[in-house]
């Protein structure tokens, strides 16, 4: 539906170069650290900036040179940019002021109801909580029935507890209305929980596009793996479709040719079991479980124990097993980086 075709934007000391497409009804996330070019990409899509080369196609039509007014894309900024001199109702109606009054009223009621804003209809936007502001911003962006909704870190300004519930709401909304969303975030958890697909961006380019489960469990390279939190990088030997884990060998789900590979193994895929002996060097209690670090023949390995009955003390001996579920090597050329 939306095709971003070799889009390039040059700055004196930075270059953004992206290529991807988003299907109708898809929740597509651009994930990356700040300064990686994801917001610039979003601004290019919105038409707030124009690329130096490449094109943007919407349903096959080239809209690269179309001004933002003509694109019919909804946009929600991180700080929502609600018009301070207009109340909730007028903010929402802003983009459909040219429509007839009856339609405006109908659309307003729909959106107020959808976002549970009925009681705030006449309220000044200056007196809204962060969550309410976000709902007004979403309602305003959706009022003209945009073909694509662009969200630039819409949760960044909210409390963590509020963030989670609003995230859930956004997900339901997207599914219910079949919205096509391009979502920019630096928060992995948000990207993982909301998206159909995630594009990981770094230094102006997209390094990987994949589904959340794949990107988390089978990252392509070291950087992608490290981006989603703690992981263990372990070099393991593979022979005859089985991986050597200390004293034992485990059959891989998807066989690969013999050799030595670098694997990214998340702490939750290692636990007490058989294969590798170690000594606990540190422990962090996380509430739902305990994250341990153990000194082993592979160096320090992190592993998670869920619902523990007690916390192991420093210096205790453990034997660790490995789950081969989703185990896949990460990109060879990145191994030494």
């Amino acid at each position: 539906m939306l095709k971003i075709d070799n889009l390039v934007k040059n700055y004196p000391d930075f270059r953004v170069s992206v290529d991807f497409s988003v299907s109708k009804g898809e929740f597509f996330s651009l994930l990356g650290p700040s300064g990686c070019g994801k917001t610039t990409t979003l601004r290019l899509i919105a038409g707030l900036e124009y690329p130096d080369s490449g094109s943007i196609l919407l349903e096959g039509e080239d809209i690269t040179k179309l001004p933002p007014q003509k694109r019919r894309f909804g946009l929600v900024f991180q700080d929502y940019a609600l018009f301070p001199h207009l109340n909730v109702e007028k903010n929402i109606l802003y983009g459909i002021a040219k429509e007839n009054k009856a339609y405006q009223q109908k659309r307003l009621q729909e959106l107020l109801e959808l976002f549970r804003l009925e009681h705030l209809q006449k309220r000044s936007v200056r007196n809204l909580s962060g969550g309410e502001q976000q709902r007004v911003a979403l309602a305003r962006a959706l009022a003209p029935n945009p073909q694509v909704l662009l969200l630039d870190e819409p949760f960044a300004a909210l409390d963590p507890s509020l963030r989670e519930s609003l995230r859930e709401e956004l997900k339901q909304l997207q599914e219910r209305l079949g919205l096509t969303i391009v979502f920019v975030t630096h928060n992995q958890e948000e990207a993982l929980s909301l998206s159909h697909r995630i594009a990981i961006m770094e230094k102006g380019i997209i390094t990987e596009i994949a589904r959340p489960f794949e990107v988390y469990t089978k990252p392509k390279d070291r950087d992608s793996a490290a981006f989603f939190g703690r992981t263990n990088f372990v070099k393991l030997k593979v022979t005859g479709g089985a991986v050597q884990w200390g004293t034992i060998s485990l059959l891989l789900e998807e066989p690969i040719t013999d050799g030595e590979y670098l694997f990214s193994v998340r702490p939750e895929y290692i636990g007490e079991g058989k294969g590798v002996e170690g000594v606990i060097v540190s422990s962090s209690f996380l509430g739902f479980g305990v994250l341990y670090a153990a000194d082993t023949a592979y160096g320090v390995l992190y592993f998670l124990e869920f619902a523990p009955s007690t916390i192991k003390s420093k210096g205790s001996r453990v034997e660790l097993g490995l789950s081969v579920k989703n185990l896949a090597p990460i990109r060879e050329e990145e191994q030494d980086s």
Partner: protein
């Protein structure tokens, strides 16, 4: 320490409040007050003066706004080489003494002025239009600073959101930008209105017998020794100016609120494409500003090196003549004495103001509105208050000093108190736990942190005091000659060559002070046109 605080507070009360309260009390004590009021109300000249004062102020303020807005737009939307210099250049006219502006206008727009001769037109300055023009010259930078300041910080995402919702640039301007800029526009109009209505030097010289503002009218009555009528009018002026400052303050806080709540430091660089048409407009606009407003000042500098009747021949003749005996006769005092008077008076009053401001800002933050009262009092009302209240029991030198502190203090206080507010109070507490006494905390924590603000405040205070003509003329009764009085007398005696020489020296002094104000990062507060 405590004694010092109380002394500072008492001193401020004596300087600011005793003359104001004295003015009112002494007026109430006049035995023929009601006859006086009746007489005044029946006097048609009063209505003429009031009509002129406020009509010219309203027009001057409106034109100032219109002249300044394009610059406010350019400065807030475009980045170009020399922008800061150009911006500072537009600000300079605002801090120059008004009598200097008068002189610069005479030698440029006067009968023999460069502008009049070049374009072959007669002079317009001794008229309603001339007075308005001078006020625009003086105040157009207000809208650049106030409206431009808000515009520059306006969250550009608001406008971008409007674009994505279908607005053209033109439409977004009227639906989003203008409503948000409105309080700042109103505030800058009101401030220019207030300054123009309190104008003294410009109207004194250009108004002749036809045009009087209330300030000039009161002064003229005093000179004619019609003291009772002047007293009543000074009271009336006090009421008017106080009423207007209340309105100004309302808009000031509204303007600031908009500024604070809905602006941001731009996260995204300005990406507005620079079209050729915009470039041409920009150059044209600033060229017109340069000819109309820069011209008088540049011409003043140039003329100071060109002796009478010897156009094109550069010498220091005017400067030599400035220090000669003819000028001494005109001024009634040698020029070196004028320098000493000016520096001593402005330096001391600014120093006293900074000291008072520091002590009061640190120890009586809650009294802030009371310390800003002088902003709402016309200089003529205050000066008259000093004459009727303090003159009989204080030497003239002290009265002069009080007048100058009154002028400098509110602005100095705004800058210093802003600086004090920005200092985390925990520094004081930490220093105390580390063993520092109060005076050590002042010396080792507050003064170093406040240095830029104090520098700015001192320079600003000095500039305001040096630029004052109203206070020195009224309270000094012509015996105390400062730069502004000297310029006024040189203009009165048609000694323009020497006037341009002194004017150039004073301008250089003000440019130096301006650099000090700016480099100290001092906020340009509501300085009144005195």
């Amino acid at each position: 320490m405590k004694d010092l605080r109380i002394f500072a507070l008492v001193l401020l009360v004596v300087i600011v409040y005793v003359p104001i309260v004295g003015l009112v009390v002494k007026l109430a004590a006049l035995p023929n007050l009601f006859e006086l009021i009746k007489e005044l109300l029946e006097d048609p000249s009063l209505y003429r003066v009031i009509r002129f004062t406020y009509s010219q102020a309203a027009i001057s303020a409106a034109i100032s706004l219109v002249v300044g807005l394009p610059a406010a737009y350019f400065f807030s939307h475009y980045n170009f080489k020399g922008k800061e210099l150009l911006r500072n250049f537009t600000m300079i006219s605002f801090i120059l003494p008004s009598i200097l502006v008068v002189l610069a206008m005479i030698v440029y727009y006067g009968q023999q002025g460069l502008f009049s001769r070049t374009f072959g037109i007669g002079t317009f300055i001794y008229s309603y239009a001339g007075i308005v023009f001078a006020h625009v010259f003086y105040n157009f930078s207000l809208s650049i600073r106030i409206v431009g300041g808000t515009w520059e910080k306006l969250n550009e995402r608001l406008v971008e959101s409007a674009y994505t919702l279908g607005d053209s640039k033109f439409k977004a301007f009227f639906r989003i930008e203008l409503p948000l800029l409105w309080p700042s526009i109103a505030y800058s109009w009101l401030l220019a209105f207030l300054y123009s209505s309190l104008s003294f030097a410009i109207v004194l010289v250009f108004g002749g017998v036809s045009y009087n503002t209330l300030e000039v009218f009161i002064y003229t009555l005093t000179r004619r020794l019609n003291m009772e009528k002047a007293h009543l009018l000074a009271f009336l002026q006090l009421l008017f100016s106080f009423f207007f400052i209340l309105i100004v303050n309302r808009f000031s806080s509204r303007s600031e609120q908009t500024s604070k709540a809905f602006t941001t430091s731009r996260a995204v660089p300005l990406v507005y494409e620079r079209k050729k048409a915009v470039k041409i407009l920009l150059v044209l606009y600033f060229a017109v500003l340069l000819v109309l407003f820069g011209g008088p000042l540049l011409n003043l500098f140039w003329r100071s090196f060109v002796p009478r009747g010897e156009a094109g021949f550069v010498t220091l003749e005017n400067y030599r003549s400035l220090f000669g005996s003819r000028v001494e006769r005109v001024l009634g005092t040698p020029l070196w004495q004028v320098f000493i008077n000016s520096f001593l008076l402005s330096g001391t009053s600014s120093l006293v103001s900074v000291w008072l401001a520091y002590i009061l800002a640190r120890h009586y933050p809650k009294l802030r509105p009371w310390f800003l009262v002088p902003l709402g009092v016309s200089m003529m009302s205050y000066g008259f208050g000093v004459l009727v209240t303090l003159k009989s029991w204080m030497p003239p030198a002290i009265l002069m000093l009080f007048t100058q502190v009154f002028i400098a203090f509110p602005v100095v206080y705004s800058i210093v108190s802003l600086g004090v507010e920005e200092i985390n109070p925990e520094y004081r507490e930490v220093a105390a736990t580390l063993g520092s006494t109060e005076s050590e905390i002042t010396r080792r924590i507050y003064l170093p942190l406040l240095r830029p603000a104090l520098q700015s405040a001192f320079a600003y205070g000095m500039a305001l005091s040096l630029g004052d003509l109203t206070g020195v003329m009224l309270v000094g009764e012509g015996r105390f000659v400062t730069f502004t009085v000297a310029l006024y007398r040189l203009i009165g005696h048609y000694s323009f060559p020497e006037g341009t020489a002194l004017g150039t020296l004073v301008s250089i002094l003000f440019i130096i002070l301006f650099v000090f104000i700016e480099s100290g990062g001092g906020k340009k507060s509501n300085a009144q046109d005195r």
